[in-house]
């Protein structure tokens, strides 16, 4: 949750480096990182103030997702957690997606 953007990139770099060293396969882990969680809004709490959108490092309109009550399923979402941490009304939370859980077993 407190993973910052910088840390995220650092983690990615580490992953790439480890892949280069042949320590593990890249794709599975990248997917695990990106697909194991998504940001989900509780739209009844949302007042559309826009702090989430304002603070998104990749410019996703998180607020629009919150209005529609849809999870932030967006190819560019880093799941960095900026929006979750900054929302003053607890609208957003991480939700585990089990898409790849089976593959991991």
């Amino acid at each position: 949750m407190n993973l910052t953007t910088r840390n995220f990139f650092l983690d990615c770099t580490t992953i790439y480096y480890m892949e280069f060293l042949g320590i593990f396969k890249r794709d599975a882990d990248k997917h695990t990182v990106l697909a194991s969680g998504q940001v989900t809004p509780d739209s009844a709490r949302c007042v559309q103030c826009g702090i989430c959108t304002y603070n998104c490092p990749v410019g996703i309109d998180v607020r629009a997702h919150a209005w529609r009550g849809e999870p932030v399923i967006h190819s560019q979402c880093l799941t960095c957690g900026e929006c979750v941490a900054r929302c003053p009304r607890g609208v957003l939370r991480f939700e585990q997606t089990d898409l790849f859980a089976k593959g991991r077993e």
Binding site: D42, A44, R45, C46, V47, Q48, C49, G50, I51, T53, Y54, R63, A64, W67, P88, R89, G90, V91, R93
Partner: protein, 444 residues
């Protein structure tokens, strides 16, 4: 069919979306049968923005441009006419609106969603430059124009808006005096412990609190605020005065048109007034709740959106009842995230005349109930325990339980299995609720 909506707030936008969900925007106009025209009339020069978000604009957490949830393109997709004007009269028998400085406009179905406005501060000197309120974005901009580091501000009033003003000034580096008429903050919603927590945090932020303090005059020098005089004879020097002593639904149009009014415009569960072609939604509407048989004012974004949506569906002919859920608000009180759900208090607050922004009358209609509470520092949880259900909750600080509690209360879940344990002395009510919720989730 010609739909007209007065008011560019969230209720109005939600109504347009609802109408368009039934009659999607046609390609081109004038396509014969079923052709739907929607017109939005608004007198707020800034159109549709997040009014609750103004609090974060004041503290500097947000840029003003970030407060607009919709781009011009988004709004164009809804295909409605936007008329920036003030409606001066509703001529019901002619189904026509008179506008200030513009040609009259006819309607088939009308929605009044004009919101509420701040009650004026009625003391001598209240019209001096530097006496401020927080209704609109314009007010927020005016406040920021006056707010200067090192200057001092006096805040008068209660509820959420008064604290938003206090926090805004504090974050701008101002010296703040907060006047309370009673002996504690927001006494008809918070209990004593909760009021004290908020007050203590305000003091830590450098705010000077004055209890039993009533402003009787704003004094000025050279046309600007220079101070405020209190009933007890005390005088405070200040550079601006901001007030939030409650709001009043803007019922004037409806009143003049002869619609049924109490504190707000009275509407049935279909958000319809006593004129079947006129609907009302949002802060201006006093909606009938079939569950309690009462007509209630809410001044909350969520219910306003829901009412606007329901009104839109009904206007477009899809009969849909407005099901009122227990009103709740998540807000920051002196930096402490606080969730208020259901009924939690009673009586009246001396600092507020009636309802305030971010407020619900339901919160104060507490029937017989028992209180279970825990926590005496920043993390506090108070539950209002009814016979079989939870009636209300206040969650301060740690918000882990706020989501489950909202579901338990709004779902009227039967809490008999844990009721006794909740009411036992020194019960760890947080753990009990968490356990109950986990069990309920497994069962469903």
């Amino acid at each position: 069919m010609n739909y007209v909506i007065i008011g560019s707030g969230v209720a109005g936008i939600a109504a347009i979306e609802a109408i368009r969900s039934i009659y999607p925007s046609p390609f081109g106009r004038g396509q014969g049968e079923g052709d739907v025209e929607i017109t939005l009339i608004g007198d707020d020069p800034h159109g549709f923005y997040s009014r609750p978000g103004l609090a974060y604009y004041l503290t500097g957490e947000l840029h003003d441009k970030a407060l607009f949830p919709r781009t011009a393109y988004d709004l164009r997709k809804l295909n409605f006419h936007y008329v920036k004007a003030r409606v001066t009269m509703i001529l019901r028998d002619q189904h026509t609106l008179e506008l200030a400085g513009q040609a009259p406009l006819s309607y088939d179905r009308l929605l009044i969603a004009v919101g509420a406005q701040a009650l004026p501060l009625e003391v001598p000197g209240a019209n001096i430059e530097g006496v401020l309120k927080l209704d609109h974005m314009q007010d927020a901009k005016r406040i920021l124009k006056h707010a200067r580091r090192g200057k001092s501000a006096v805040v008068v009033g209660g509820g959420i808006t008064a604290l938003e003003l206090v926090e805004g000034f504090v974050s701008r580096g101002m010296k703040v005096h907060y006047l309370l008429r009673g002996d504690r903050y927001w006494s008809n919603v918070l209990d004593e412990q909760e009021s004290r927590i908020v007050e203590q945090r305000l003091r830590e932020e450098g705010v000077t609190l004055h209890h039993h303090a009533e402003a009787i005059e704003v004094t000025g020098r050279n046309g600007r605020v220079s101070g405020i005089r209190l009933l007890n004879g005390q005088q405070l020097k200040c550079d601006l005065v901001a007030y939030a002593i409650g709001i009043r639904p803007r019922v004037d149009l409806a009143k003049q048109a002869g619609l049924a009014i109490d504190r707000g415009i009275l509407v049935n569960e279909y958000l319809q007034t006593n004129d079947p072609d006129i609907f009302a939604a949002g802060d201006v509407a006093q909606a009938y709740d079939p569950m309690t048989g009462r007509s209630i004012l809410d001044s909350l974004w969520g219910p306003a959106r829901q009412q606007g949506h329901t009104a839109g569906l009904n206007m477009a002919g899809r009969k849909t009842a407005y099901i009122k859920s227990p009103p709740f608000n998540v807000t920051r009180l002196a930096g402490l995230t606080t969730t208020i759900i259901g009924t939690v208090g009673r009586g009246r607050d001396e600092d507020l005349a009636g309802i305030a922004r971010g407020d619900s009358e339901t919160w104060r209609q507490l029937p017989d109930s028992m209180v279970a509470q825990t926590g005496f520092e920043v993390n506090r949880l108070r539950l209002l325990v009814g016979e079989k259900t939870l009636l209300g909750a206040i969650v301060m600080g740690d918000q882990k339980l706020s989501f489950p509690l909202e579901k338990i209360i709004s779902g009227n879940m039967d809490i008999s299995p844990i009721r006794e344990r909740l009411l036992a002395p020194k019960a760890r009510i947080g753990d009990i609720v968490a356990e109950f919720w986990a069990g309920a989730n497994i069962r469903h």
